[in-house]
């Protein structure tokens, strides 16, 4: 759809956008301009170049993509830090309840954060019915990931929110694998809090800052555990006591400007209609992959409602992923046996998908995953 806007690894099909979205061509210019401002004006750029407003201006852009009001989103910190803030804020609104309910197969980073905060109860099977069965009035917060990082299945956000609210449960959504590829409407879905990263489907660059959403209805009462001075109503008044309001409460320290500016550049590409189209084509691609690999010696996950990647399991999963990468299809591996293929149509074509299917069949046929060089583990997988 927009392949000309990206720089893709030469001679490769980049099917790893669910992990790190590829670089936009304009990012170099955006960086040069920022470095130029820094060099020419030094500290004055905080005013002159609007650096100080970036958490809010980028928040407004993200809000437009997820169906939120512009005063409900900021860009700040990492997903992990934002999840910590959102969970703690939600928990502190739920006096007398101390359980965080989540799914067994949630992204481990999310589980670790929850485990550090309170008692965690796990739902064994990530299905709506199972989720409903586990919701009761002892639960403080339901923490869910919208698109599962393993099988790419998508949860029904509105139905789950509605059900949980009946029991007075607040919901914190992780949208890391959703934003930029799955249509979202946070306000209409009645979301309480949400967080997400911007370096996957939004191509914000490696480790680009994350976002945090807080529904207006919580703004007055909610408190962030991290009372960041950048969220003070008047950060440069240097008052002794903390005072903050609205989503500003979730601001922490000085934003990492270089990373913020790269993200700002990437966000120029996106609007909701583009995401709608990308979602629809991604679904065609994933259907084709799923259908075509049905009768191969490999298991393909086929959830009915899918995000932007397709997941396969294979008993030699890691070596299988190495073989596919060697054959120029950049995919990734998640322990213990999962291989993931991103089908983002912004830079992946139908031709790419068809060649990928062919290559997977070839790897299986020739058992290429048995080669010793594919069986040595790397640090980041």
């Amino acid at each position: 759809m927009l392949v000309d806007k990206f720089i893709l690894p030469e001679g490769k099909v980049y099917m790893c956008g669910h992990s790190l979205g590829p670089s936009l061509k304009t990012i170099s210019d955006a960086m040069c301009n920022t470095l130029q401002d820094f060099a020419s004006y030094g500290v004055s750029s905080w005013n002159k170049s609007g650096w100080i407003d970036l958490p809010y201006t980028l928040g407004t852009k993200i809000a437009a993509l997820v169906g939120a009001n512009s005063d409900e989103v900021i860009v700040s910190d990492s997903t992990v830090v934002n999840l910590f803030k959102a969970l703690k804020a939600a928990m502190s609104l739920q006096k007398g309840r101390n359980i965080i309910l989540t799914t067994d197969d949630n992204f481990p980073a999310d589980l670790y954060i929850a485990q550090g905060i309170s008692e965690v109860r796990y739902i064994k099977d990530t299905k709506a019915d199972e989720i409903y069965e586990n919701i009761d009035e002892t639960v403080a917060v339901l923490m869910l990931t919208h698109v599962n990082y393993r099988d790419a299945s998508v949860l029904e956000m509105k139905a789950i929110n509605d059900y949980a609210h009946k029991y007075g449960v607040l919901i914190v959504w992780d949208l890391s694998h959703s934003i930029g590829i799955v249509p979202l409407d946070l306000e209409a879905s009645g979301v309480d809090f949400a967080v997400g990263c911007t370096y996957k489907y939004l191509s914000g660059g490696p480790g680009s800052p994350a976002f945090i959403y807080a529904n207006r209805k919580h703004h007055e009462v909610m408190q962030s555990p991290i009372q960041g001075w950048m969220g003070h109503n008047q950060p440069f008044a240097f008052e002794k006591e903390y005072a903050s309001s609205g989503v500003r409460k979730f601001m922490s320290g000085t934003p990492a400007i270089l990373s913020m500016k790269a993200l700002e550049d990437a966000l120029e590409v996106f609007d909701r209609s583009l995401i709608d189209k990308a979602y629809s084509i991604a679904n065609e691609y994933s259907s084709l992959l799923i259908e075509s690999l049905k009768n191969c010696d490999i298991e393909v996950y086929a959830p009915q409602n899918r995000g932007g990647h397709v997941a396969l399991t294979h008993k030699h999963g890691y070596a299988f992923s190495r073989a596919l990468i060697e054959a120029s299809f950049i995919c990734d591996y998640r322990a213990p046996d999962l291989v993931r293929l991103c089908v983002n149509p912004l830079y992946i074509s139908l031709d790419n998908i068809e060649s990928c299917i062919e290559k997977i069949r070839f790897i299986i046929e020739k058992a290429l995953y048995l080669k010793p060089e594919y069986n040595q583990m790397q640090k980041v997988t």
Copy 2:
């Protein structure tokens, strides 16, 4: 000393390095190379370009500058988030004590974080004797800033640590205004925890990531409130339970690589002997400023042991700072009446200091601070 290594605002004397250090000339190349890696290799750069190790490789470099062991420092998040982690970790080691003791004139950002965590007791006067007087066995944590952001006075780190330890008090130091300009020896000084920013005297770029130090003696027992997956002993094993050790416990989410790489480039410039020399020359410069402005209609702070800036107060402080900036001396203003001048000899010469003195005298003589255009407040000061 190293003026050729920096890009300085043209025709200006940049005396704002205590707020944002100026750009190094090499930062553009460092950024270009990083963007090239990103574009060419996408997600593979996490391994190929060592991105995944940056929090530790940069931590090792910072450790060398502050007299710490390389396994005691990581680079991660912002100062505010790191201070939150350090304070919470220190508090949780102090069962039965709930008071954070700090100074009344500590940097407000630090006060806000402490206020969000526990009961805060304030020391009215930031002097060693006053600090000692307030230390007793009800205090859990003493939170101090090494170089005062207002008057640039430096606290005696070792003596204070020794005294506090006698009462079982743990100390968290903020080194934001120290690192890169004041010699530090954290191990010899018996520091428990420390945090600091890297965008002032280390010129890491706007909002460059902060560091956090934890003394080895606390590694086994300490816990971070934010159980970040990047700190998991095996982040890519995707285990369900969190397990982390050493200073890794303070890692949170995916590091902002662009900002990390700019900092990596800046750190190439620094070693301890350079900082020793810079400290000594900065002291000559500040002595000269203090002596020369004694008899002007302005109050100059003259602490005996000083950091890298000189502070003046003037009843028209903000307008005074605007007049000085207009006269090409980039300084900054801190509410309600403080004007700060950085004297970092890495890029400021004796000539610069002498012209600055002359200009200050001129502004006072002509009462230029009364001009209406200097009395309109900007967003970031």
